[in-house]
């Protein structure tokens, strides 16, 4: 039985590969955007795996038996997973939705000019 973190990481890596394949091989603009969403999902999973240690708990100190020293209010770092990684991924998810929205606004506007969702139709920038 493979350990759970390796399973999650491999799943994230497979999602990245599937997303890249969609971006490079598909001709429909909406399918390319779906490929971007898959790549972002895979990347977020892999980053969280870098901070996860099995057997520990989430970094929320909401009961006094998680504190080591009740007077000075310090908590032992050996019972939590990494909070910095989670803050990074939270930022990344919010930015991903902004970027996806901007890309889809471009798709809608491009459709208004040539009435086609085929990426081969928009060749005016090719040299």
């Amino acid at each position: 039985m493979i350990e759970p973190t390796a399973l999650y990481t491999i799943t994230g890596g497979l999602l990245i590969l599937i997303g890249f394949a969609a971006i490079m091989l598909k001709r429909n603009l909406i399918k390319i955007m779906l490929g971007f969403v898959l790549v972002e999902a895979g990347v977020h999973i892999m980053i969280i795996c870098f901070g996860y240690i099995p057997g520990r708990t989430a970094p929320i100190v909401d009961s006094p038996n998680l504190l080591t020293d009740a007077a000075a209010m310090t908590a032992a770092p050996t019972q939590f997973v990494d909070p910095v990684v989670q803050a990074i991924v939270l930022t990344a998810i919010v930015i991903a939705v902004g970027v996806t929205a901007l890309m889809l606004a471009y798709v809608v506007r491009l459709y208004g000019t040539h009435k086609s969702l085929d990426v081969g139709r928009y060749v005016s920038l090719k040299w």
Partner: protein
């Protein structure tokens, strides 16, 4: 050409990703994570350490993220310019059950979103999640009442005011305590695990929640109702 390059790129990417698998699940969390966990409660008096990291320790990154979101929503609004008197098609009105249910549900969903970002320092949650819930409530209202025009002016005012107040709070920290977006000594830290605690963290997160919620609501309204209609021919096609 694409058919040849794609497998090569995918194989190289797979090799790179495979090399990162041993780096997951480290034995000990990073040094800076250790410092945040150890002293997070003592310095901030908030139970949620991830919130303290986002709002206090890495507060400047959150300011950058909020501006990136604003930039992308403004860009989308600019690309799909609003036309006056625009209807894509005559909208079929939703049934009365949907309309009444949506009007009844709108209040509790907004209240739930406000609860999430008011308690961001105590339970999992915070400004971004609460803002997304508020935006979904507005989306529900837009779907149920097909001919409702959203008050874009009011949403724009709320969004700009929240962003402005965020930077103002940071400058107050600079003036009173010596560093931008500082949390020491401006508001009382309060008792651990109570609602009015953790200094400036709930204030900042509430501003972030309002800003994100109004931004995403304006984005959904822009994408649904702006831009040129799909049935006419092209106008000047330069964005």
């Amino acid at each position: 050409m694409r058919q040849i390059l794609t497998p090569i790129v995918l194989v190289l990417l797979a090799v790179v990703l495979w090399r990162t698998v041993p780096m997951t699940a480290p034995e000990e969390i990073s040094a800076i994570g250790r410092h945040f966990v150890e002293h997070g409660v003592a310095e901030n008096r908030g139970a949620n350490i991830v919130t303290s990291v986002i709002v206090n320790y890495r507060g400047l990154d959150t300011l950058g993220e909020v501006s990136v979101l604003f930039l992308s929503v403004a860009g989308a609004g600019f690309i799909l310019r609003r036309r006056t008197g625009l209807t894509l098609e005559t909208p079929t009105p939703a049934s009365e059950l949907v309309e009444t249910g949506a009007r009844l549900l709108f209040g509790p969903i907004v209240l739930f979103g406000a609860y999430i970002f008011a308690h961001g320092h105590l339970t999992p949650g915070g400004g971004f999640q609460g803002g997304a819930v508020v935006a979904s409530a507005v989306l529900l209202l837009l779907l149920a009442e097909r001919d409702r025009a959203l008050a874009h002016n009011a949403l724009g005012w709320i969004e700009s005011l929240s962003g402005f107040l965020y930077v103002l709070v940071g400058l107050i920290g600079l003036a009173l305590a010596g560093s931008f977006l500082s949390n020491k000594g401006i508001l009382p830290l309060g008792a651990w695990n109570s609602l009015f605690s953790a200094g400036l963290i709930p204030v900042i997160y509430m501003l972030v929640g309002l800003k994100v919620g109004s931004e995403l609501a304006a984005l959904i309204d822009t994408m649904m109702h702006s831009g040129e209609p799909a049935a006419t021919e092209t106008e000047e096609a330069r964005p």
